[in-house]
């Protein structure tokens, strides 16, 4: 029998991810954690005294928790699924309609770029086969 050494792109087991995929995931966690985090963190400290603050808190929380994804890229996948979900929801419910109608809030250009980037990137980052097996086909947690 010929056993080949696991190459970088080879998938070792049905439930596992290739090393290449793990690095891609880690890169994205790092991008969101440090890249987006460093952009959003100042808004926590410096803001209008009466700012509602929900969006900075949400985005900063996301960045902070994504850093845990560097150690556990597979276990933290729900965060990337959440990223995928909300960005696609924004894109189809707000981004595209406002793009076509021309009626846009002042933050539109910035949001469209930042969120659109995620819309383009996330489908290629998320290991869909793994997600399908682990979060759809796998038996749910026990009931009794």
């Amino acid at each position: 029998m010929v056993t080949t050494a696991a190459s970088v792109a080879e998938r070792p087991a049905e439930s596992d991810l290739s090393l290449f995929r793990l690095y891609i995931l880690r890169a994205v966690y790092l991008l969101i954690g440090l890249g987006e985090g460093s952009q959003i963190a100042p808004a926590l400290f410096v803001h209008e005294p009466t700012a509602r603050g929900v969006i900075p808190a949400l985005l900063a929380g996301m960045s902070l928790l994504d850093l845990l994804g560097l150690k556990y890229p597979r276990q933290m996948l729900p965060l990337l699924l959440f990223e995928f979900a909300w960005k696609y929801i924004w894109f189809f419910a707000f981004g595209l309609p406002q793009w076509f109608s021309g009626q846009q809030p002042p933050t539109f250009a910035e949001d469209f770029f930042n969120i659109g980037f995620g819309v383009l990137l996330m489908p290629f980052v998320i290991p869909w086969g793994f997600v399908w097996r682990q979060y759809v086909m796998a038996p749910g947690d026990r009931w009794r």
């Binding site: 929900v54 597979r74 965060l79 419910a93 707000f94 309609p97």
Partner: protein, 142 residues
Amino acid sequence: MSRTAPSLWRRGDEEVSLVRLYVMRAVALLGVWGLFETVQTLVDHDPMDRGVHKALISGLWVMAFFAFRYPLKMIPVLLFELVWKTLWLIFFGLPQWWSGAGSLRLAEDLWAIGAFPIVCVLVIPWGYVWRHYLKAPGDRWR
């Protein structure tokens, strides 16, 4: 050994107790129900609405369905809820409450956002989080 005999309240050899799973599922259902109001605004909103807040909340709503079926695997979302809501309390909610000058929706937000970290702290199975998200060896690097 009694350790190996899981009951409703004891986890035994399981990862968490059955009660814990039911409580986590109840919170997921609460999310499905409570966030739906925001989800409806996706189709009916001001054409100039920025929409980021509504999209984020709607994303959480989708995650709540997964959390109902897989409470343990979806713990990162609960941790996320705890972290962002705590950040909001520290940097926005509490300072505005104490200063007496806050956003127009402060009272509503203090209740809807500010109270939830307490729920998260009670619901999250910290032993499981410790074992799987801190102590466990990370995924491989090579």
